[in-house]
C-alpha cells in the first residue's frame, strides 16, 4: 500500500514535485542530530509561550502541547489558487444555505435536502427563524478540512462552521519556523500568513450592527482558562487588540450588551464567541450554563449585537447535511462545485446501510454529530469485536451515522524518531466572510498523523501539526511539472 500512496513531496513515483525541490535537498543534507535539536528547540519555544491544550478526560496531562513537526508541508501557487477558489465557493454556499433554512426555506421546498435533516437536526435553532443578520452572514469564520489522494483534486472532508479552532497554531508554527530556519525562508518565496489577525478584525468589524458606532467594540467570548482552546482565545484577543471576556464580564441592559470595566459599563457591538450555542444564554438554552450571559439571545434577536459565528450554524457542518453540499452549491450558485466531497454513504438510507454493514472492515464510519475524531470507527484498524459492537450501534440508530471509504490521505515527509518518513496529512484553511468580501490567508493548518500508517490527524488522538507553505514558482515550471506527472500516472 505504501508505494501507491500519493506523497506531497515525492508523488507516487518518487520524482520530486517541483514545489519541494529545495526542501528535499535540505532534508537530504541535514544532519539528523541538528534536526533533532531543532525539534527540541521548537518544543521549548511552544512551551514557553504557553501554547498548550487540555485533553478532555485526561487529568494527568492537564496541559500538553500539540507535537510540532519541523518539516513544512508545501503547496505551489497554482494548487493554492484552485483550492482557494473552491473554498470561496463552498463558504458562500454555506452562508446562503443557512440564511435560507432560517428564512424562506427554498432549498427544502425544491426538494434538494430532506426537511427532517434540517428541522429535526439537534443543531437547528428555532430561535433563529426569521432573524435578519447583518449582510446575511452566518459563518464568519469557517475551517474547511480538505484532503487529497493524488495531485489533482482536493476533497472536503468536513465543513467546520461552528467555532473552528487551530488558527493560532497556523500563526505560531510559522513564527517558530522562521526563527529556527531563517535560511529556508530566504531561499523560498513563501506567501505570508501573518496578516490573519488584521483580516479577522476587519471581518468582524464589517458585520457590526447598523446601530453600532463607526468604530465598533469587538470582544472575544471564551469559556475560560479551563477550555482546551483557551490559549488560542487569549492569543487571538491579544493579536486583535480586543478584550477577552468571560460570560460573567458581560451583562444585558435594555437588550444591549455591556462589559464590566474599571470605568463602569462599556457597550459591546460584536462578539467573536468561542462558546457553543447551548452555553450562550441560560435563559434561551441550557439553564445550567454558568458560562453564558443571561439575555444575550434577546439582545441578539433585537439586532443590537452581532455574534460570530451566528447561532445555529451547526446544521451546516452536520455530517449528514455534508453529503448534500454539492447539490447545495449547485442550487444556490448555479455552478459546479470546485471542491469535491468524499464519497459518502448515508446510513439513514436502507440500501446504503446494507452496503455499509457488509463492508465495515474497509470503511470509516462517523457519527453525524461527532467531532474531534471521537466516536468513529476506522474499519481497517479495528478488530472483530469492535466492528461487531459498532454494527449494533449502527443498526440501532442508522440516522446518526455516515460512512466513507478509507481514503489513502496523501503523505508528507515528517521528522520522526528514526529520521524523515512519510505520514498522512490533511489541511484546514480558514475562510473569513465579511460584509465586503471573503478573505483567506494562503495556507492553513496542516495536521499530521504521527503514528506510522495512522489516518487520524486529530490532536486529541495523537496528531501533530506542520507549517504550511504556499510558495510562488515561475509559472512555466509549474505547468510542465504537473503535465509530466499526469502523464506518468
Amino acid at each position: 500500500m505504501a508505494g501507491s500512496v500519493f506523497d506531497e513531496m515525492n508523488g507516487v513515483d518518487g520524482a520530486c514535485r517541483s514545489a519541494y525541490g529545495l526542501v528535499k535537498s535540505w532534508l537530504e543534507n541535514a544532519d539528523p542530530a541538528v534536526m533533532k535539536q531543532r525539534q527540541q528547540e521548537a518544543e521549548f519555544l511552544f512551551r514557553r509561550v504557553g501554547i498548550t491544550f487540555a485533553v478532555y478526560g485526561d487529568a494527568a496531562a492537564e496541559e500538553r502541547i500539540i507535537p510540532f513537526d519541523i518539516v513544512p508541508r508545501v503547496l505551489n501557487g497554482g494548487e493554492w489558487n484552485t483550492l482557494s477558489r473552491g473554498l470561496v465557493q463552498r463558504v458562500k454556499a454555506l452562508n446562503m444555505f443557512l440564511a435560507d433554512i432560517y428564512g424562506p426555506c427554498e432549498v427544502v421546498k425544491a426538494g434538494i435536502i430532506p426537511p427532517d435533516l434540517v428541522y429535526q437536526n439537534p443543531a437547528f435553532q428555532p430561535a433563529m427563524v426569521g432573524v435578519k443578520l447583518p449582510h446575511d452572514i452566518f459563518v464568519h469564520i469557517a475551517g474547511i478540512d480538505v484532503i487529497r489522494t493524488d495531485d489533482k483534486d482536493f476533497y472536503v472532508l468536513e465543513d467546520n462552521a461552528r467555532t473552528p479552532s487551530g488558527v493560532s497554531y497556523m500563526l505560531e508554527n510559522r513564527d517558530v519556523m522562521m526563527r529556527l530556519f531563517p535560511d529556508l525562508f530566504a531561499e523560498h518565496q513563501i506567501r505570508p500568513v501573518e496578516n490573519y489577525p488584521d483580516e479577522l478584525l476587519a471581518t468582524l468589524r464589517s458585520v457590526a450592527p447598523n446601530s453600532a458606532p463607526a468604530e465598533p467594540t469587538v470582544a472575544l467570548l471564551t469559556p475560560g482558562p479551563f477550555n482546551s482552546a483557551y490559549y488560542e482565545h487569549s492569543f487571538l484577543a491579544d493579536r486583535l487588540g480586543i478584550e477577552l471576556v468571560e460570560g460573567r464580564d458581560l451583562f444585558i441592559k435594555d437588550n444591549v450588551v455591556f462589559m464590566r470595566t474599571t470605568q463602569g459599563p462599556k457597550r459591546v457591538d460584536v462578539i467573536y464567541r468561542r462558546l457553543d450555542d447551548d452555553f450562550l444564554d441560560p435563559l434561551a438554552f441550557r439553564p445550567d450554563s454558568m458560562l453564558g450571559v443571561p439575555g444575550l439571545m434577546s439582545a441578539y434577536r433585537a439586532g443590537n449585537v452581532t455574534l460570530a459565528n451566528a447561532v445555529g450554524t451547526g446544521v451546516a457542518d452536520d455530517k449528514a447535511v455534508y453529503t448534500y453540499m454539492p447539490d447545495i452549491v449547485r442550487f444556490f450558485l448555479g455552478e459546479e462545485p470546485i471542491l469535491k466531497n468524499v464519497p459518502t454513504w448515508r446510513c439513514r438510507e436502507p440500501d446504503s446501510l446494507k452496503y455499509v454493514l457488509e463492508h465495515l472492515p474497509e470503511l470509516v464510519v462517523k457519527e453525524v454529530q461527532g467531532s474531534g475524531g471521537y466516536g468513529m470507527l476506522v474499519g481497517p484498524k479495528a478488530d472483530r469485536a469492535t466492528i461487531e459492537s459498532f454494527a449494533e450501534k449502527l443498526k440501532a440508530a442508522p440516522d446518526d451515522f455516515i460512512a466513507q471509504p478509507t481514503l489513502a490521505l496523501s503523505t508528507s515527509p515528517t521528522f520522526v524518531g528514526e529520521g524523515v518518513a512519510p505520514r498522512h496529512v490533511d489541511l484546514r484553511p480558514f475562510v473569513l466572510s465579511g460584509a465586503d468580501r471573503i478573505r483567506i490567508v494562503p495556507g492553513g493548518l496542516t495536521r499530521v498523523a504521527l503514528k506510522e500508517g495512522s489516518l487520524v490527524v486529530n490532536s486529541s488522538q495523537g496528531g501533530g501539526t506542520k507549517d504550511t507553505w504556499v510558495i510562488e514558482e515561475p509559472s512555466g515550471q509549474t505547468q510542465s511539472q504537473s503535465q509530466t506527472q499526469s502523464q506518468s500516472q
Binding site: 504557553g50 482558562p225 491579544d238 464590566r260 474599571t262
Partner: protein, 314 residues
C-alpha cells in the same frame, strides 16, 4: 479601560509574585539565624519566628506538630495546602496571568510561565542547605525578572497601575509584619543593643529586606534600634520602607484617578496614610508603642486593598 476581572487578576498576580519573594526572604533569614551558635536553644526557635512573621501560625499548626526546619521549609516553600507557599504563589500568579494574558506583554507572561515550569525542578523534601540556597535564589530572580519585564515592556496605563498597586500593597504588608515579629529587638525606646547575638539578629533583619548596606550609607553609624525603625518606616529613599511603598501607592492611585477622571475612597485613604508617614517624626508615630503602630498599619493597609477592590475590581 480594563475589564474589572482583569484588573483584579493583575492586582493579585503582582501580590502573589511579591509574596513568593517575601517567603523566600523569610526562609533565607531563618536559615542564616538558625546557624549562629545557640541558634536552636529552646527559647529561641528561628524557624518558629519565620512562621510568625508570615502571620500564618494557625495554618501551620494545623498541618505540623513542631516547627522543625524541614516542616517550615515545606510549609513556606512547597506545601499545596498553604495558599501562600512559594509554590502556591507561583501557581496562583500563573493562573491569574493566564486569565489576563491579553493585558500582559509577552515578556511578562514568559517570565511568569517559565518560572512555573522551572519550579518543577525543585523537590521539597530532603533539600540540603545548599539546595535550599539555590532554590531561594531562583525565587528571588524570578521576582526580579517579573518586576523588570513589567517595568521595561508594559504600557503605562491602568493595567500597569493595578499591577504595581498589588506589588506595593503586598510589600508594605510584608515590611510591617517582619518589623512587628521582631519589634522588641529594635524598640526605638532602646538606645543601644546588647551583645553580639542581638547585633546579628538586627543585621539579619536588615539583610532580609536587602537594606544592611543601605543602612550604613544613610546613617553612617553602627546599628541602632531607633535608626532601623526610622529606615524601615519613614525613609522614602529606602525602597521597602512603608513611606516609600505608600509614596508609590498614592502615585499610582492618582494616575488611575487622573485617567478615569474620578477620585474615590482609595485615593483619599492612601493619601492620608502617606501624609502620616511623611509628616510626623518617629516618636510621634509610635507614641502608643511600636507594636500598636505596626498592627494598626497592617489593618489600614488591608482596608486600602479592600477599598481598591470595591472601587475598581468588583
Amino acid at each position: 479601560m480594563l475589564l474589572s476581572r482583569h484588573a483584579d487578576s493583575l492586582f493579585w498576580l503582582a501580590r502573589y509574585m511579591e509574596r513568593a519573594e517575601n517567603a523566600a526572604r523569610i526562609l533565607e533569614t531563618a536559615s542564616r539565624l538558625a546557624s549562629v551558635p545557640n541558634g536552636d536553644s529552646v527559647d529561641r526557635n528561628e524557624w518558629r519566628a519565620a512562621i510568625v512573621s508570615t502571620g500564618s501560625q494557625e495554618a501551620f499548626d494545623a498541618l505540623f506538630d513542631e516547627a522543625s526546619p524541614s516542616a517550615v521549609i515545606e510549609f513556606l516553600a512547597f506545601s499545596p495546602q498553604n495558599s501562600s507557599s512559594i509554590r502556591s504563589c507561583f501557581e496562583t500568579a500563573r493562573n491569574n496571568a493566564r486569565s489576563v494574558r491579553t493585558a500582559l506583554t509577552i515578556d511578562v507572561w514568559e517570565s511568569i510561565n517559565s518560572t512555573w515550569l522551572e519550579l518543577k525542578r525543585y523537590q521539597g523534601s530532603g533539600m540540603s542547605r545548599q539546595e535550599l540556597g539555590t532554590f531561594l535564589n531562583f525565587v528571588k530572580e524570578a521576582s526580579l525578572r517579573f518586576d523588570g519585564s513589567a517595568y521595561r515592556t508594559m504600557l503605562r496605563n491602568d493595567a500597569y497601575y493595578f499591577l504595581r498597586l498589588g506589588s506595593y500593597i503586598e510589600r508594605a504588608d510584608f515590611t510591617a509584619r517582619i518589623l512587628l515579629a521582631r519589634s522588641q529587638l529594635f524598640d526605638p525606646e532602646r538606645e543601644t543593643i546588647s551583645g553580639s547575638l542581638e547585633y546579628y539578629q538586627l543585621s539579619s533583619l536588615l539583610r532580609c529586606v536587602s537594606s544592611l548596606t543601605s543602612y550604613h550609607w544613610v546613617y553612617r553609624e553602627s546599628l541602632r534600634p531607633h535608626l532601623i525603625a526610622d529606615l524601615m518606616i519613614m525613609r522614602e529613599e529606602m525602597p521597602r520602607s512603608l513611606a516609600s511603598c505608600y509614596e508609590n501607592i498614592a502615585r499610582f492611585l492618582d494616575n488611575l484617578a487622573r485617567d478615569y477622571g474620578r477620585h474615590g475612597k482609595s485615593q483619599r485613604s492612601a493619601r492620608k496614610t502617606l501624609s502620616r508617614l511623611q509628616e510626623a517624626d518617629l516618636s510621634a508615630l509610635t507614641r502608643s508603642g511600636l507594636d500598636g503602630f505596626l498592627s494598626e498599619f497592617i489593618d489600614e493597609n488591608g482596608r486600602l486593598g479592600a477599598a481598591i477592590g470595591e472601587q475598581y475590581l468588583g
